[in-house]
């Protein structure tokens, strides 16, 4: 099997149109700001009329060098442990070198930034998976990376910080002392644990502070979802049978969407997957899918980006710092939000403890220690499988491994 030649743009197949991004009435135009901070090709991809967007040859090549296509495996061990004749498949994105799906969009984003003449890419990261992927993509393509990592994670996930530095990136805890916004946040709350929204604001401010910098975001926006569809495009070729249930976890929505949208698209176009259910799983630490409002909101805490219509808990939401996994973002990708609102995607929220118990069962039956984020999907798969009739088929996205998340497992196991 080859690396796909196209990403899939679900926007043109949605049951309703995506409301456009808008500017708030006060302050400068955030839409105009996008042009200054983001690679131009990404903005084009955000608004493209094409259903299939060609993957540049250089990006395909890097995808292949980094291990795409990733394997689709049958979870035979887990199936046996559950023992009720439900077949379970998983796409293993943790097989990529940085251990998660994030590299799928880090590579093209850095690639497009360089095409725009960037010498440095700047971003935020929560648990560090995205920061690590950007650090590697920047190293592979030969530019500098600067990462703002939520302070709580920075303290707890020391290996990820270390490995970002091994790849050559500069990493700051957020709130940091290098941006105005960070300094203010620290002044108002010296023990601020950070939030992804705040780190985004810092990354954008830092981008604007210097020459030759481009800002690249890790989830939520349309082009991130677009790049992640490389996962689902592969799944379409790999799946031996049509699933009854498709499951993924949601932080900002990129891995769930990238994994499931090519299948969902076929369903929306009446070309298959008629009986398939889609289930998006989140953490109770940031329950926008189950408790959020579908409304215009800022993707970042500081309100520097244009407002987008999405399921959101509000852009100043700060999740409980005790939560170890990365699913702590206040909003969900607009396309995913719309599909949830229209009833095409079911949702569920789980507590950290039950999720990590599911992770342990998976580790013991399949050998892979899952990322705590991905373990949310596993928890849902186990719950659903127990309820489904014999012969049912489930496929889920194992978006990352958890070998760099000992802090999460320490809470539960030790």
């Amino acid at each position: 099997m080859n690396v796909p030649h196209y990403w899939y743009n679900i926007n043109v197949d949605l049951p309703k149109p995506l409301p456009p991004p808008i500017d708030p009435y006060e302050g400068d135009s955030r839409i105009a700001l996008l042009m200054r901070i983001m690679p131009s090709e990404l903005l084009d991809q955000e608004f493209t009329a094409l259903r299939y967007v060609p993957i540049p040859e250089e990006v395909r090549e890097l995808y292949a060098r980094m291990g795409r296509p990733t394997p689709l495996r049958e979870a035979v061990g887990l199936e046996r442990a559950l023992g009720n004749g439900v077949r379970i498949y998983y796409k293993f994105e943790g097989a990529l070198p940085t251990g998660s799906h994030k590299l799928n969009t880090a590579i093209p984003q850095v690639y497009y930034a360089i095409r725009d003449g960037a010498k440095e890419v700047v971003t935020e990261t929560g648990a560090g998976q995205w920061g690590l992927a950007v650090s590697l993509a920047a190293a592979l393509l030969g530019v500098k990376a600067t990462i703002f990592m939520t302070r709580n994670s920075y303290m707890n996930k020391k290996q990820r910080v270390l490995f970002m530095r091994v790849y050559g990136a500069d990493v700051y805890p957020s709130p940091s002392e290098v941006t105005k916004y960070g300094i203010e946040a620290l002044r108002s709350r010296p023990d601020h644990p950070g939030s992804l929204g705040l780190a985004i604001t810092e990354a954008i401010e830092f981008t604007l502070m210097g020459e030759g910098r481009k800002y690249i975001p890790g989830s939520v926006l349309g082009f991130v979802v677009l790049h992640q569809t490389v996962i689902g495009q592969e799944v379409l070729q790999q799946l031996p049978e049509e699933p009854d249930l498709v499951v993924g976890c949601v932080g900002g929505g990129s891995n769930f969407s990238g994994f499931s949208f090519p299948m969902m698209g076929m369903k929306l176009r009446g070309e298959g997957f008629e009986k398939t259910r889609f289930l998006a799983v989140e953490s109770t630490a940031a329950p926008k899918l189950t408790k959020g409002r579908y409304t215009y909101d800022f993707p970042d805490t500081g309100g520097l980006l244009p407002m987008i219509k999405m399921l959101t808990l509000g852009h100043d939401y700060v999740p409980p710092p005790t939560h170890a996994a990365g699913l702590r973002y206040h909003g969900a990708a607009p396309s995913l939000s719309l599909l949830i609102k229209e009833g095409y995607v079911e949702t569920r929220a789980y507590e950290q403890e039950e999720v990590l118990r599911a992770a342990r069962l998976f580790a013991r039956t399949e050998g892979i220690i899952p990322a705590p984020e991905s373990a949310h999907a596993i928890k849902a798969v186990i719950d659903e499988a127990r309820r489904m009739p014999k012969g049912s088929v489930i496929v889920f996205n194992l978006s990352g491994h958890g070998l760099l998340d000992p802090d999460a497992y320490e809470h539960e196991v030790v």
Binding site: N11, V12, P19, P21, M35, E41, D44, F47, T48, A49
Partner: protein
């Protein structure tokens, strides 16, 4: 009343800059364009860029009364407003449109936020002798675009960018071509951030039947001569 193609349309918010000079502004625009779009001033011009927003906020009147200040009809006139303001008052909008000789009322938020209202909108427009028209963006679902074609609209308006007047680095030719492919020979209008003849040419060559200019006009409307010259210059792109 059909629209000439290839055509140049102009946009102005009713009673901008003020009630007294607005009719003179319209006079210039009508003389140099093939159709006129008249914005119904609102307190919530959500999809507009900063410049057009300012015209809404500065217009001396708000709402439908403002559009009655001008005299239209020498070229096809289309009212443009946010359906959010008129969800329960579509017949009232249609009646005013009829009174001021408009041929259609374009609601940019109809497809995005009020899709379920489309049938009702078409019915009301037709019952007042007006034609429906629709606003879409480059990533509006294809199935919805082809459904709009079935209403036999006066035109489909493709917003080239996310907001009026703000140019982003998008391949607009490709998006125009893609939409043209979907709508067959329905009249296709494209607009947002059009400000020079080359851009007009690109959009027309890609398959649009007409373009609309709004933001780029704003600093010229106070002066009939500049306004006329600018529009003549833009028209160069239609050839």
């Amino acid at each position: 009343m059909g629209i000439r193609k290839p055509g140049l349309g102009t946009y102005i918010t009713a009673t901008y800059p003020d009630k007294e000079s607005f009719p003179r502004v319209v006079e210039c625009l009508v003389k140099h364009s093939d159709f006129l779009e008249v914005g119904i001033p609102t307190v919530n011009p959500k999809y507009d860029g900063p410049a057009i927003r300012r015209t809404h906020f500065q217009s001396s009147m708000k709402g439908l009364e403002a559009v009655m200040v001008g005299g239209y009809g020498e070229v096809p006139t289309i009212l443009m407003g946010y359906v959010e303001d008129y969800v329960d008052k579509l017949p009232m909008v249609a009646q005013v449109a009829q009174e001021v000789n408009a041929v259609s009322v374009l609601f940019p938020d109809l497809i995005f936020e009020y899709l379920d209202l489309v049938d009702e909108y078409v019915k009301v427009m037709r019952s007042y002798g007006l034609m429906p028209s629709f606003f879409i963006s480059s990533n509006t679902p294809h199935r919805i675009i082809t459904r709009l074609v079935k209403y036999d609209p006066l035109f489909i308006y493709l917003g080239l960018y996310a907001a009026t007047g703000i140019r982003l680095p998008l391949y607009i030719e490709r998006n125009v071509r893609e939409v043209r492919r979907l709508i067959g020979d329905v009249f296709l209008v494209a607009g947002f951030a059009i400000n020079n003849p080359d851009m007009v040419r690109v959009v027309i060559n890609a398959g649009a039947d007409a373009v609309v200019v709004g933001t780029a006009l704003l600093d010229k409307i106070h002066d009939q001569e500049r306004c006329g010259e600018f529009l003549k210059w833009l028209r160069g792109g239609l050839q």
